[in-house]
């Protein structure tokens, strides 16, 4: 019996040593068959147990079981180590050239004027303005007369006009939408709209395009004041150009507003210190505005003694140019892909 136990111990010692030395799945499998298989060494030893006495069998059986367990355990441990190693080797062989370019996707782009217009719209939508629209070929009445610009008014020279007939023209500003909105709404209150759109003037150079875009704004209620206009435009300037932006109002003249103002923002390039972009003034003009002229209110059906309103109009190109640092307005209409792909 002792001999048998001794054999088992020596099988275990040998097996463990060889398992330790195995370095492939095949050799490990071979060892499993050699030691644990049906014709394996351990099985052979167990078969020979028949020669032992009844009382000796359990003891030897116990030893044999523990040897089997030990060998099985070591094999599975070794197996996982080898599998691990193989996986690592495989992964190492699968390494990509991560510097090759990624697959090209084809995403289009919105025109920068659309991007800027949407941004402007978003700011005013947030302040309770809705979006109104009007025709681009307009009646003289809406473009001029109803805005307190009768025929032969010298201020008509401020906007060089494309005429179609004596009574129809290409609108020179988005202000006619003000009038159409008021006519439609009066005498209901409040009115709060912006009107983005194309406008046309007979001008063509690096800073003027015969077609350009404006966003008009109009608010009418019982007690609208110039201070409200200042507040709304300050919010706009901060959201459009950054929280540090300051606004400055300068008295100006538009026939359809009284009082009238032009609004400057502190130069985004130099923060107001003065640079080439702002002609060393620290300020950039961005829009015209004012309190709706009483005659305009009256012509559109509101009682100017009871209600008041403000209006403003800004050039979208001007804002795009300031935001993106574009140096020639004509680029916005040339539709050069090398330009459009930058936005």
């Amino acid at each position: 019996m002792e001999q048998l136990e001794h054999n088992l111990q020596s099988i275990q010692a040998r097996a463990l040593e060889e398992i330790e030395g195995a370095d492939s799945l095949e050799s490990l499998n071979e060892l499993r068959v050699r030691y644990l298989g049906k014709k394996g060494e351990l099985t052979a030893v167990l078969r020979s147990m028949g020669a032992l006495g009844r009382d000796e069998r359990p003891r030897v059986g116990q030893v044999a079981n523990s040897v089997r367990k030990e060998i099985e355990g070591r094999i599975s441990l070794r197996l996982s180590l080898i599998k691990d190693k193989l996986k690592r080797e495989t992964l190492a062989g699968e390494s990509l050239d991560i510097t090759l370019p990624g697959t090209a996707f084809n995403l289009g782009r919105l025109h920068p004027l659309t991007v800027v217009t949407r941004q402007i719209e978003g700011i005013f939508l947030g302040m309770g303005f809705s979006i109104a629209e009007g025709p681009e070929v307009e009646l003289d009445y809406y473009n001029f007369e109803a805005l307190n610009l009768p025929k032969d008014h010298p201020a008509r020279d401020m906007q060089d006009t494309f005429f179609i007939t004596s009574e129809t023209l290409l609108r020179t500003h988005t202000s006619p939408v003000q009038v159409r909105t008021m006519e439609r709404t009066a005498p209901a209150l409040p009115v709060r709209v912006i009107a983005p759109g194309k406008v046309y003037r007979r001008d063509d150079d690096a800073t003027h395009s015969p077609m350009f875009h404006q966003v008009e704004g109009l608010a009418i209620d019982r007690r609208i004041a110039l201070s409200d206009l200042r507040g709304v435009l300050q919010v706009f300037a901060e959201q459009m150009f950054g929280p540090e932006t300051r606004t400055r109002f300068r008295p100006s003249y538009f026939p359809f507003t009284e009082p009238s103002a032009e609004v400057d923002i502190s130069c985004a390039m130099c923060g107001g210190k003065g640079c080439r972009i702002c002609s060393h003034t620290g300020w950039l003009e961005i829009l015209g505005c004012g309190m709706v002229h009483p005659r305009v209110l009256e012509m559109s059906g509101y009682n100017s003694g009871e209600v008041s309103g403000f209006a403003f109009g800004m050039g979208v190109e001007r804002i795009a140019i300031l935001k993106y640092g574009i140096d020639d307005m004509r680029l916005l209409f040339d539709n050069d892909m090398r330009f459009l792909s930058q936005f």
Partner: protein, 807 residues
């Protein structure tokens, strides 16, 4: 308006530096566009006399001058100027002098001869040479021989001045004058204006005895004041007057003309001087022109006048276009001895129409059309008389003829402090408002709680309470008004469904790889020729501009695609050959019933080349199927269903075999297709360009609302592929129709995944392979059931098209 501060100081004390003055004027509504300091940087340039001049021994075109500046030793200066000679007094730059533009003068040797300074031209002193006689504009400036030597020329030439360039708004015609600007400065600085001297003593018979004024058109001429000057000595005006006129941008001509211009610049009242002796019977008749009446104006051009134009006439005919331009026949010349001076007021609208009709704009007409102070005519006439005497240019006849049919009491306006607060959002106390208005020469009087404000004659732009509120606000300071937000009923800002749809269509196309364009709404009439649009097409009926910038931009577009094709061609010429673009914009279609055209929004897209390829993915070329897929993806995105597709025929823009028209219930929705080779040639485009134009109005009408949720299928579906061989020419759509019809109620989806022509199939045939998806709502389908459906489909295809199954 150019304002010399040196001149302005004559009327008002300027108590702040010029930079601050510019800022304050700007913030009060008189925008200062520029501040010029013409003499800035000029140093050590003095008056000097040329004592002698000798030719340079080593150079043909140079002279050696001996020059004195009155003190120290004489200077030897080499000059190339040919317009000077000994005895001339000229500006001399000494060693170390600085000239305009920063040039520094050093001792130098010119062809071996020492030169210790330079004789200066007007340009080198920063002067506008446009006002100088031609010989002086190009050579050295020749000064008055009587000038003391050694005088600083900066002072002499008025270069120690600061010029403010004012960009005036059209309502402030009153500030087109020195006194007008002085009034603003006085109001801002708390000063008072000093009016120029106008007192004159006359001699001889007054104008009432020798001249007569008749105003036949009092609606167009509210006042006509006449003064008479005798024993006129026409000559140049004094230097100070010339300098000031130049600083204001007016060319000096002669003492009489310069006086009229000087008074206009000073007081804002245009004046006109007639040679009295050329006026028949000494009579002035202000009347409308006769039909086809003619007048040779001062510039020598014969003008044909119209019956609505106001003229100044004598009994023989028109002698001037009132307020616009004088006539040649009555012009003041060197031989003039008596002058009849006009100081009048004309109707702004009439002046504007006349000046437009004649294409003539003058300093005078631009002031009259903005409105001139009718109460100031007399003062201006008197001021001119005073200057005439001061200049010793003649004698003044006593008194005036003042024909004043337009006389009216001054305008008064009630200003309520509550109205100020309502409009501005800040309360400005009544006394403060009154103080501001008083400073601007309004006359405010307290009446109850309010102010009764009398408007001064020069403020023709002020007629309403709101105008007064602006006056108060701009002096008070717009930037002292607080920031508030509108109170009252709150409103909800939202896009309309249509506006949201426009945004999502753009976003969808961008996601599909298209670039958005913005092209001009006007185009050339010939653009439709290039696009193959037939002459009799309704698209040829375009809105035409009366005054386009060019023929290329003379009609409003009736379609978008030509503009897109131009963009493709332009980019192609810049070697950008892969591009896909779209525009969502309006076309303009004339209406027979409405003066305004119908403005319809159209969606157009065009592409050439292909979507960018990668090293690991082949290039996808833009072709008919690419755009068809894109269009239908878009339709799906906006919930547009029930459209049908037909071959587009008879459209010269598109390839006859590669274009399709979408329609819904018979209404055309749009066209997708590859372009006709002729059109490609017209635009010089590459061989394959695909395009579409969709009626966005219809798309918006029919786009679906958000659909209802449909429960997800509970049982798995079964997919089977079916490949059939059919004759070429059998349309895929017809096969799908048969499959759908015979596939049974469980057939959910049919999609084509392959089309093959080639060796594997018979000549003239093609294989088309479809995936059919079957699904039941209440159970899992069995293979046997599906096999049954497929067999039915195969049988039907064989009957209908002679199709064979392909294995």
């Amino acid at each position: 308006m150019r304002v010399s501060l040196k001149w302005l100081r004559e009327y008002v004390d300027i108590t702040v530096p010029s930079g601050e003055l510019a800022e304050r004027l700007t913030l009060a509504g008189l925008a200062v566009e520029g501040v010029e300091r013409p003499g800035e940087g000029i140093e050590k340039v003095y008056t000097g006399k040329i004592l002698s001049m000798e030719p340079h021994p080593g150079a043909d075109k140079l002279f050696i001058c001996r020059v004195t500046t009155g003190e120290g030793e004489d200077l030897q200066i080499v000059t190339g100027a040919a317009n000077v000679s000994p005895g001339h007094v000229v500006p001399v730059a000494l060693e170390g002098a600085r000239l305009a533009g920063g040039m520094v003068i050093k001792k130098a040797r010119l062809r071996g001869v020492e030169s210790r300074g330079m004789l200066c031209s007007g340009q080198e002193l920063g002067l506008d040479t446009g006002f100088m006689p031609p010989d002086q504009a190009h050579g050295v400036m020749i000064l008055d021989r009587e000038l003391p030597l050694g005088m600083d020329v900066k002072e002499l030439l008025g270069l120690d001045d600061t010029i403010l360039d004012l960009e005036l708004t059209p309502n402030r015609g009153d500030c087109l004058s020195m006194v007008g600007v002085a009034r603003e400065v006085a109001a801002l600085l708390g000063q008072r204006v000093r009016m120029p001297k106008t007192r004159v003593a006359g001699t001889g018979p007054g104008p009432g005895e020798v001249a007569r004024v008749d105003i036949d058109a009092p609606d167009l001429c509210g006042r006509y004041v006449v003064r008479l000057f005798r024993n006129i000595r026409v000559g140049p005006s004094p230097r100070w007057m010339q300098e000031r006129l130049r600083a204001a941008g007016v060319r000096p001509i002669s003492n009489i003309v310069d006086i009229t211009n000087y008074v206009m610049m000073e007081l804002g009242q245009p004046l006109h001087a007639f040679d009295y002796d050329t006026l028949r019977e000494g009579r002035i008749i202000v009347r409308r022109a006769l039909k086809d009446e003619k007048l040779v104006s001062l510039d020598g051009n014969e003008r044909r006048l119209g019956e609505e134009m106001l003229v100044i006439a004598d009994p023989s005919g028109a002698v001037a276009v009132a307020g616009v331009m004088g006539g040649l026949a009555t012009e003041v010349t060197g031989g003039t001895t008596s002058v009849l001076l006009e100081s009048a007021h004309f109707n702004p609208v009439s002046i504007r129409r006349t000046s437009r009709a004649l294409g003539l704009r003058s300093e005078s007409s631009s002031r009259f059309e903005k409105g001139v102070d009718i109460t100031g005519c007399l003062r201006a006439a008197d001021r001119a008389a005073r200057l005439l005497l001061d200049l010793g240019a003649g004698e003044v006849a006593p008194g005036v003829v003042d024909n004043y049919p337009g006389q009216a009491p001054p305008r008064t306006i009630i200003l309520r402090p509550g109205r100020i607060e309502h409009l501005l959002g800040v309360a400005i106390p009544r006394h403060e408002a009154a103080g501001i208005l008083d400073g601007l020469e309004f006359q405010p009087k307290v009446v109850g709680d309010d102010l009764l404000v009398t408007v001064p004659g020069h403020r023709v732009d002020v007629s309403l309470e709101e105008d007064l509120v602006e006056e108060v606000a701009r002096v008070y300071g717009y930037n002292r008004i607080p920031y508030t937000l509108p109170s009252g009923v709150s409103t909800r800002g939202a896009r309309t469904p249509r506006q949201s749809l426009e945004a999502s269509v753009k976003d969808c196309l961008v996601a599909l790889g298209l670039y958005e364009l913005v092209t001009f709404s006007f185009t050339a009439p010939s653009s439709l020729d290039r696009a193959g649009v037939p002459q009799d097409s309704p698209l040829r009926n375009a809105i035409r501009l009366q005054n386009p910038l060019s023929e290329e931009q003379s009609v409003m577009r009736t379609m978008l695609l030509p503009g897109l094709l131009e963009v493709l061609a332009r980019n192609g010429s810049r070697r950008v050959t892969d591009l896909a673009v779209f525009e969502l914009g309006k076309v303009f279609l004339p209406s027979s019933s409405d003066p305004l055209p119908a403005e319809k929004t159209v969606l157009a897209a065009a592409a050439t080349g292909g979507a960018p390829a990668s090293w690991n993915r082949p290039k996808q070329y833009y072709d008919f199927y690419y755009f068809k897929g894109m269009a239908e993806t878009l339709f799906g995105r906006v919930g547009l269903a029930g459209y049908s597709l037909e071959r587009e025929t008879g459209n010269n823009l598109f390839h006859p075999g590669k274009a399709a028209r979408y329609s819904i219930a018979g209404r055309p929705l749009g066209v997708v297709g590859e372009l006709h080779p002729d059109v490609l040639e017209n635009y010089r485009l590459p061989p394959v360009v695909v395009a579409m134009e969709i009626d966005f109005e219809m798309l918006a009408d029919l786009a679906g609302q958000t659909g209802k949720y449909r429960p997800l299928p509970k049982f798995p579906g079964i997919e089977r592929d079916l490949a059939v061989i059919v004759r070429q020419g059998v349309a895929a759509r017809d096969i799908v129709r048969v499959i759908s019809k015979f596939g049974g109620g469980m057939l959910r989806e049919v999609s084509l995944f392959d089309v093959y022509r080639g060796k594997q199939v018979k000549e003239g045939c093609q294989s088309m392979a479809f995936t059919l998806k079957f699904q039941a709502g209440d159970r899992t389908l069995t293979d046997q059931e599906v096999n049954g459906f497929l067999a039915a489909v195969a049988g039907a295809l064989s009957r209908e098209f002679g199709a064979e199954l392909r294995n």
